[in-house]
C-alpha cells in the first residue's frame, strides 16, 4: 500500500553499500522466477480463452 500523505514524515535514507555476487544472483533469480511464473499464468489464461472460443465455434 502506498501512502503519499506520510511520505515526507521521515527523511529517506538508503545504505550506500553493494551486494556481493551471490546476493545479487539470489535477487536476480527471484525476479526471473517471478517473471516466468507471471508469464505462465498469462499463457494459461490465453490458452483457456482460446479453448473456450474453439468450443463456442464448434457449438
Amino acid at each position: 500500500m502506498i501512502n503519499f500523505e506520510k511520505m515526507d514524515d521521515k527523511d529517506f535514507v538508503f545504505i550506500n553499500e553493494s551486494f556481493n555476487e551471490k546476493e545479487e544472483r539470489v535477487f536476480s533469480n527471484f525476479l526471473k522466477e517471478r517473471k516466468a511464473e507471471k508469464l505462465k499464468i498469462v499463457d494459461s489464461k490465453r490458452i483457456s480463452k482460446q479453448h473456450a472460443q474453439t468450443v463456442n465455434t464448434r457449438i
Binding site: I2, K6, D9, D11, V13, N16, F19, E24, F27
Partner: protein, 169 residues
C-alpha cells in the same frame, strides 16, 4: 551499465510547506561539471557523479533550474534499477523542511526509469533497519532478505503515474 538518456523529465510537483504553493519540477542527469555546494549535502555527490557505474539525477523546479532540491544515484542492474543513494537538500530535511514531495518525486523517477528499461518497474534499495516500516507504509516496498527492499510492479506503476501524469508504458 549506464542509463542512456539525459533528457530532463517533467515531474508532478513539490509543495512549499509554508505557502502551500506548488511548483512543477524537473529531473535532470548530473554531469561532472555540475555545481554542488558541499555544505548543502551529507553525501559526497561529486564522487558519486564521477563513478561511471552510477547515474546521478537532481531535482529542480521549472522556474528555478539552479537550486537543487534533491538528488538520487541509480544503478542499472540489467534486470531492475537499484537506488544507491537519495538525499534531499538541507532545507528540505527534517520537520522544518521547506518543500514536500522531493523524495517521492525522485523515487518515482527511478520507478519510471525501470519501466522504460523494460524491468517491469522493479526498483530495489538497501534500507536502514529503522526505516523499513516507513518504506513499506509509504512506498509499498517489500522486504527481500534482511535489508534489501524492492518496489514491485504494481506499486511502482502507482508511484510513476502519481508523479508523471503523461507517462505511458
Amino acid at each position: 551499465m549506464e542509463l542512456d538518456f539525459e533528457v530532463d523529465q517533467i515531474t508532478n510537483s513539490i509543495e512549499n510547506v509554508i505557502s502551500g504553493e506548488v511548483f512543477e519540477t524537473l529531473v535532470s542527469l548530473a554531469t561532472k561539471e555540475q555545481i554542488i555546494e558541499k555544505t548543502d549535502w551529507v553525501f559526497d555527490w561529486k564522487s558519486e557523479i564521477r563513478d561511471e557505474t552510477k547515474s546521478v539525477f537532481f531535482l529542480t523546479t521549472e522556474n528555478d533550474p539552479i537550486t537543487i532540491h534533491g538528488m538520487i544515484s541509480l544503478i542499472d542492474k540489467g534486470d531492475h534499477i537499484f537506488m544507491n543513494l537519495i538525499e534531499s537538500a538541507k532545507s528540505n530535511k527534517g520537520k522544518n523542511k521547506l518543500y514536500k514531495g522531493v523524495a517521492g518525486n525522485l523515487v518515482a523517477f527511478a520507478c519510471k526509469t525501470s519501466f522504460e528499461k523494460g524491468y517491469d518497474g522493479i526498483v530495489s534499495f538497501i534500507a536502514k533497519i529503522q526505516l523499513i516500516e516507513h518504506y513499506s507504509d509509504t512506498l509499498g516496498a517489500k522486504l527481500f532478505g534482511k535489508t534489501r527492499m524492492y518496489i514491485d510492479t504494481e506499486e511502482s506503476y502507482t508511484l510513476t503515474m502519481n508523479y508523471f501524469k503523461n507517462f505511458d508504458i
